[in-house]
């Protein structure tokens, strides 16, 4: 991976390879694709050159394909916690034993048909049931199970609106919102019955209006007033995120729901998509183009969010040590107990940070993708891009950037 970070061309080749892996029909096909991408790299290091040579013969391709497939699978396992919720239970229990809660995220193909939306909703239902069936046997973990407001669900599932409907259209958000609502409602009802938490993820800007509208509308329905615990996401890389957060806080202050909304604050994972999409249309990108502006905004929103407690439950999701430390400091300055701010990280990327935070007595939740290799690829590629982006905290850390520089105020 470090080699990939150093060479943009090589990185692109490897990403394209990871991306196509699920669609390859044989090891031979896999090796041909790999060679095709590597061919486009001008300056090939010796191991890559050797791989190219192997691709010249049929047995060579079989060997190269097998090695590459194993490599990708190995990498995927680092990020994906299991092929199904059931298969993931062991790993989830292991994390719980070690002091970390999880939020499960079901990976899948894009939803373009009603049948696919139904299947995703069924998988969500199955995940809720599976987790709720297993969770009672987990040992007591007071830090993970309560804050000073009250109990926190052991079962926590993140869902994507774009997977719950094939009808999300940026210029007609109400259509997708309504279609997703009819699948989201039974999930919320079941989560309430099971005492589970349902977190509605945020995706690209094209879906923000539909997602926000859906959350506000559904959670205010009378039958959902007493539960379940639910959450939304604010993406700090969005220029509009301060206004979005105010909207959420206004809603949270006004709602008659019993459980405070969990607000997960992230930087955002669609940066390249948003910038390219805006540039191609001649629009001002909806995201901050300088990383430091996102970091600064993240800190401002962190403060606003922790100030707003107990109307909302803050969840700070970042791998950036500075952002995380800042949140701890702000919480203490505002007189909050440590357990009133949750920290969230991604499986495979934030594992060390999660362990350190857990050791310090903070509540940590690990966002765990579940799904097969095919389904996981798009997700994986995005995670990899973020991880090896030149400016990412983890990338910098890996390259040995001095800690003072990494922790400098944005």
């Amino acid at each position: 991976m470090e080699m990939a970070s150093q060479d943009a061309e090589l990185r692109a080749a490897l990403f394209r390879f990871v991306d196509v892996t699920p669609a390859c029909r044989s090891l031979d096909d896999l090796a041909r694709h790999l060679a095709g991408y590597l061919e486009e790299v001008d300056d090939r290091p010796p191991p890559i050159e050797a791989a190219m040579k192997m691709s010249g013969t049929k047995p060579g391709r079989a060997a190269l394909g097998a090695a590459a497939a194993a490599g990708v699978r190995h990498m995927a396992h680092r990020f994906i916690v299991g092929e199904s919720p059931k298969a993931a239970l062991k790993a989830i229990r292991h994390l719980w034993d070690n002091g970390a809660a999880v939020s499960l995220d079901l990976l899948g193909e894009a939803t373009v048909t009603q049948a696919e939306a139904d299947r995703y909703a069924d998988r969500c239902m199955d995940a809720l049931e599976t987790l709720a069936g297993a969770a009672p046997s987990w040992p007591e973990r007071p830090v993970l199970e309560a804050d000073s407001i009250g109990r926190l669900p052991r079962v926590n599932l993140s869902v994507k609106v774009s997977a719950l409907t094939p009808l999300l259209r940026p210029e007609a958000p109400e259509v997708g919102r309504e279609d997703a609502a009819r699948r989201m409602r039974p999930l919320l009802v079941r989560a309430k019955e099971l005492g589970a938490h349902l977190h509605i993820d945020m995706e690209s800007v094209d879906t923000v209006e539909a997602t926000m509208g859906l959350v506000f509308e559904l959670l205010d329905e009378p039958e959902l007033r007493e539960g379940p615990s639910a959450g939304v996401v604010i993406q700090a890389y969005l220029r509009e995120s301060p206004q979005q957060l105010e909207q959420v806080l206004d809603w949270a202050a006004a709602t008659e729901r019993e459980q405070p909304l969990v607000v997960r604050l992230v930087k955002g994972a669609y940066w390249d998509h948003e910038v390219v999409d805006a540039r191609q249309h001649g629009w001002i990108p909806p995201v901050f183009e300088e990383k430091r502006d996102s970091d600064r905004n993240f800190e401002a929103l962190t403060r606003r969010l922790i100030e707003a407690w107990p109307h909302v439950r803050p969840a700070i999701a970042s791998h950036n040590l500075r952002s995380v430390s800042h949140a701890v400091a702000v919480a203490r300055e505002l007189g909050r107990e440590d357990r009133d701010v949750e920290f969230q990280v991604l499986r495979g990327l934030g594992d060390d940070l999660a362990a350190a935070l857990a050791d310090l007595g903070h509540r940590v939740r690990i966002y765990c993708p579940v799904g097969d290799l095919v389904a996981g690829m798009a997700y994986l590629v995005r995670r990899l891009l973020e991880n090896t982006a030149n400016e990412s905290f983890l990338g910098e850390q890996q390259r040995g950037t001095p800690i003072e520089e990494l922790l400098a105020a944005p």
Binding site: V20, C24, H33, Y37, E40, E171, E209
Partner: protein, 516 residues
């Protein structure tokens, strides 16, 4: 100065959507609009015809003067006069006039988009895109014309001076279609004017009001009335213009039948016609999207669906066929079918509408005729509105090779999928078609992309994306083979068709002494 595309509205934002709905309300209050025949000055007092809303055929959008053969002759005569004045202006000054027209369109963009929603049932994002494309053509050709005016550099040797410059041809006739009711007439007219020609515009009878708005903008910006006439009307006016011996250039976009007829008619050089006519003809297509086994179907499905059914398939660039690798065909068909079933068929003024009505009754009947030629695998499940020329988007698959559905241009919301052994066979299929306008390829193999790109005869090949939506300056657009004569609208070669090159070689020696 460099060119950049006019940004489309950010319709994912509610205020942008509301601004368009407000503009529509204002427009509706003013309907029907009146579009006069304009030759030198407005020529009222003649027969009229109406353009109507394809989604509500009893709504008259515009009442236009119906020009006749005498108007055509008068327009060409006026153009001969206007040509002198217009061509005498420096290229930079003409470019400035076009830019001023672009600015007028920019200021009226909401209203002009609303007009397309009503007159052509163009859904909002595409109506807005069309207005932007019209602005782009004006700005782009303004820049290109100034550059062209510099001429080309030639080899020079001692004792002689060689120059190559471009001169306008004279009178240009523009015959435009309704499917891009502002952009296409604007592109052809702007190119003719930018290069210094006078122009006579004959818009499609389905969309006179958009053409009227274009001509108004150009006149208001400073194009002399005589240098630009507007002749709303039917085919007989176009035919008269094409026949007129005083016409130098004919720029046409439309059906193959009409395009070929124009080429035949304009080849005639009757007694007294001192030139050969130049024809720019953009015609039909039967555009294929190739899907290899390694394609990312998550991308293929939405991109193909939009390419095939956006604006009800009524774009020359629209996808008519998919040629899919047999290994992935079943999955693709299942997902395409599901995606087509949920398409929202409705009135163009709803933001949710994905498939609007087709332009007129004849179109509806034509599409239905083709749809009856084989089993329909899937069609949209939304109830069709009671009135309007609606056709549900449909998917057909595995038709016999000689099916007319696979070989003729349908120009409506009907997509046919065929299986192929590999991409080479897919290229053979494309190669056997007479058309070569746009094409698509979904593949994640660099080698396959290279091989297919080398084999596809189409004018515009799109790789791993939809095949519609060419942008001025970014995707110069136009077809090969029987789809067109290879001109590329919105590209660096386009203006050359509206000028004639002149080379001057001067001997600079006087009695053995160079006098440079």
């Amino acid at each position: 100065m460099s060119f950049r595309n006019e940004p489309v509205l950010e319709l994912r934002r509610a205020p942008a959507r509301e601004s368009l709905l407000d503009a529509l309300k204002e427009l509706d209050a003013r309907l029907p609009l009146h579009v006069p025949v304009s030759v030198g000055s407005d020529r009222p007092g003649r027969d009229t015809f109406d353009s109507t809303d394809p989604g509500q055929p009893d709504r008259v959008v515009a009442t236009a003067g119906r020009s006749n053969e005498q108007d055509a002759a008068a327009a060409v005569e006026a153009a001969e006069g206007g040509f002198g004045e217009w061509s005498a202006r420096p290229a930079a000054e003409r470019a400035q006039v076009l830019r001023a027209a672009a600015q007028i369109l920019r200021e009226r963009r909401l209203e002009l988009a609303a007009l397309q929603v009503r007159e052509c049932a163009k859904p909002w994002p595409e109506a807005d895109g069309d207005v932007c494309e019209a602005i782009d053509f004006l700005e782009y050709y303004a820049l290109e014309a100034v550059a062209l005016d510099e001429g080309r550099s030639l080899v020079q040797v001692p004792g002689e001076r060689n120059t190559m410059r471009y001169a306008p041809r004279g009178v240009a006739v523009v015959i435009a279609p309704w499917n891009f009711p502002l952009a296409i007439p604007c592109g052809m007219t702007a190119a003719a004017l930018a290069a210094g020609n006078a122009a006579v515009l004959k818009p499609a009878e389905q969309s006179p009001a958009s053409a009227g708005a274009l001509v108004d903008a150009l006149h208001a910006a400073g194009v002399p009335r005589d240098a630009l006439s507007l002749l709303p009307g039917y085919g007989e006016v176009g035919a008269a213009l094409v026949r007129d011996p005083r016409v130098h250039v004919i720029a046409f976009t439309g059906s193959s039948a009409v395009g070929l007829e124009i080429l035949r008619a304009s080849a005639d050089t009757p007694e007294g016609q001192g030139h050969v006519k130049r024809v720019v003809s953009e015609m039909g297509g039967k555009n294929c999207v190739l899907v290899d086994a390694d394609a990312d179907l998550d991308e293929v499905v939405p991109e193909v669906v939009y390419s095939a059914f956006g604006y009800a398939g009524q774009k020359c660039s629209a996808a008519a066929r998919v040629l899919v690798h047999e290994a992935t065909a079943d999955t693709l068909l299942e997902r395409l079918a599901g995606a087509i079933r949920v398409l929202d068929v409705g009135q163009a003024d709803r933001f949710a509408t994905e498939v609007p009505p087709v332009i007129e009754r004849e179109s509806q009947e034509r599409v239905e005729r083709y749809a009856a030629m084989g089993p329909v695998l899937a069609e949209a499940e939304t109830a069709l509105p009671a009135e309007g020329w609606f056709c549900p988007p449909r998917l057909m698959a595995d038709l016999p090779d000689d099916s007319p559905v696979l070989n003729e241009e349908i120009f409506g919301p009907l997509l046919a999928v065929s299986r192929v052994r590999d991409m080479d066979e897919a290229c053979d299929v494309v190669d056997a078609l007479p058309f070569a306008l746009t094409g698509g390829l979904f593949s994640r193999s660099p080698r396959t992309i290279e091989r297919v790109a080398a084999r596809m005869p189409v004018g515009n090949l799109y790789v791993n994306r939809g095949i519609t939506g060419a942008m001025v300056g970014r995707q110069p657009f136009g077809g090969n083979r029987r789809s067109g004569i290879g001109s590329k609208a919105g590209g660096p070669d386009y203006l050359l068709q509206f000028v004639e090159p002149r080379v001057v070689t001067e001997n600079t020696m006087r009695h053995g002494i160079p006098v440079e």
